[in-house]
């Protein structure tokens, strides 16, 4: 029992601990859902013991909140910064924004958070409301301004912008959900890169100014 060697049995890693735990929690929550996720598995994936989780978080629910509240906002601010700094066509800005969202969220583990919130909205309405307002609606509002600008400029055709935004990014969101649900079961898993290319192109076509046989013009 005498410990003569200065060998530390475990390494205090500055404080990456909380983040490691959050990362593990995200993975497990997304895979199993909040209720079915066992804290023991979160701990194991984070490489700590169950008790340690409670040193940094007050409980399972706190873990969920910390996850949701901290994770997406920086990405969103990123996207907002793009808009602030942009000069050029609305189309180009839209592409930039969607591209940032794709790379910053859809391709990263953060993509689990929308899936998680979608699943858990019924159990955590407060948290869901926060996510709805602070993330979703804020994101939509930003895109809406860009889209309306584009309409003003004649780059995009006139559409009800509140709906058009949702519809425009729906294919990207679907990919995010797909990734965390059925994709692991597909024999030939979806090629995300190809999907993004085609989805972006189709979404842009759906709002493009020219041509586009529209509801309004169907009798012309």
């Amino acid at each position: 029992m005498t410990e003569t060697e200065p060998t530390p049995r475990w390494q205090r890693r500055a404080d990456e601990r909380p983040q490691e735990i959050l990362d593990a929690a995200l993975a497990v929550f997304v895979e199993r859902g909040f209720a079915a996720a066992r804290l023991e598995e979160v701990a194991k994936r984070a490489g700590v013991s169950k008790g340690t989780v409670y040193l940094y978080f007050s409980g399972k629910e706190d873990l969920l909140k910390a996850l949701v509240q901290s994770a997406i906002l920086p990405q969103l601010e990123n996207i907002e910064a793009l808009a602030r700094d942009h000069s050029g066509s609305s189309r180009e800005l839209l592409i930039k924004m969607v591209d940032a969202m794709w790379r910053g969220i859809a391709l990263s583990p953060l993509s689990g958070i929308p899936k998680l919130m979608l699943s858990e909205a019924g159990n955590f309405p407060e948290l869901a409301r926060f996510f709805l307002e602070a993330v979703i609606q804020r994101h939509w509002a930003l895109m809406r301004r860009v889209m309306e600008d584009g309409m003003e400029r004649g780059e995009f055709r006139r559409l009800p912008s509140d709906l058009a935004v949702r519809i425009f990014i729906a294919p990207m969101m679907m990919a995010v959900f797909w990734k965390h649900s059925f994709m692991p079961l597909e024999e030939q898993p979806l090629d995300m890169a190809r999907y993004f290319d085609v989805a972006l192109e189709m979404s842009l076509a759906s709002i493009a100014a020219q041509a586009a046989n529209t509801l309004e013009r169907k009798d012309s």
Copy 2:
């Protein structure tokens, strides 16, 4: 409400019971997720006691399976019938099919099932695989044939049909998920009818033959 007879403690309604329980289970599972759903609440919503559920289903998981396996397939067969019986343009058929899906699934409680499977795929991979193959991929295969027909005929532009199908119906699927997650939290809940009209129009625009600024023509 005037009850002159001594109140019967229960009613015998064996024939309708299983469906009533399934309906209740769907509602609770969709709202809370499978793990967080309490069988007691399912029973209460079905107007029966906990024990009664076990007269018709062997357990909670069996309830989930019965739900998923029985519910959507008839709707899907509906849609397949449309395709069989159709004569006319591919565009018209596509509209018919999407419309049937919207009315038969999206607007009905059945819309909960895709949301439920999305959430639970990680916990019930076998069931999810069944749903993927028997419902999703079967639906996609059907739409894909229609879309490729339309491309042949020049109604739709050339797109990778496997991806185009997913992207085409993504806005409808998003509405289905939205309805069972954030919509109840919206101050001004989404107007599903307007959404459908715009989404259909935009989706059609995204595959329309003419105009549509494309990937190929981006330098023209």
Copy 3:
């Protein structure tokens, strides 16, 4: 729904019902133990429905009590009658009594009752006390008198008769318990008839006054 034919859907069988139910209950209780026995199985074996059991018995426990209180006593009275009517050696009487017990109890389904009481004594002390006093001790008292008579007469050697009785019939009791526990699992199930012959001979030898009369020497 009009029943023109006089075909009765089930036959009212005088009142064998209660006894049929008791027989079924005995079989199930002995096989599974009281707690693990399901009333549904008792009903099924009796060829009635669960509800019918309650027409004749007030509940599961009542079934057990009725079983124990009614079943063995007649056999015991039988044996007591043998003693009353006997004239001859004590050894002969002892053999008659053991033989009656073997045929009347050990070889019949009644043999389940001692096994059942042995198992359930801890859960039903009152019932067990009844069985102990009304059956076991009464039986022992009778045998003890016979055995002491035989000692007086010099047929049996002097032994503490209270213990000698228990020991004398132990091999028969063991067969009873064996039959309802491990015997069905034996590759070569015990031959009860052979067992009885040898057991009786050995038991008699164990109390015989002088040199054991043996199987081999029975004609000497």
Copy 4:
């Protein structure tokens, strides 16, 4: 009883816990039977909470299996060692073996296991078969060899050894069952020591070659 320190809610005693739980389980199972035994009572007797049982055993049935598989075999090996090391008459060896069984099993809490298996054989046939083969038949086989040796040597009279063994130890087994069923209900509980002395003497007499050497005549 003076408790100056704040009362600790529990003690950590991981190493002894499993055995303490098994001891408690044996007592409760034997008293009530497996099905009627409540895990809460097992836990209480072991001085732990319900949940703790599940730290060491995967469930109620596992507890039963662990109990049966671990407990008796060492005693049996003890007895087999006696036979290996013995030199002397078969009678002396037989006495040694029975004595070891009496002291090692009948007088210890282990005596509950045969009672338990007898009761539960119908519900756990696999476990019962294990017990039958690994314990009962193994024990009988050993005794049978000794008994046949004794017959060869003329110490015991010729008897069908397969049956003679069962009959020879029946009185000891009966005491084991008695102890865990009716003995606690007896006004004057059986004196086990006296019982053993008489039973052994009578059993020996039942197989003795010539005239039974008796309690009365041992000094003649």
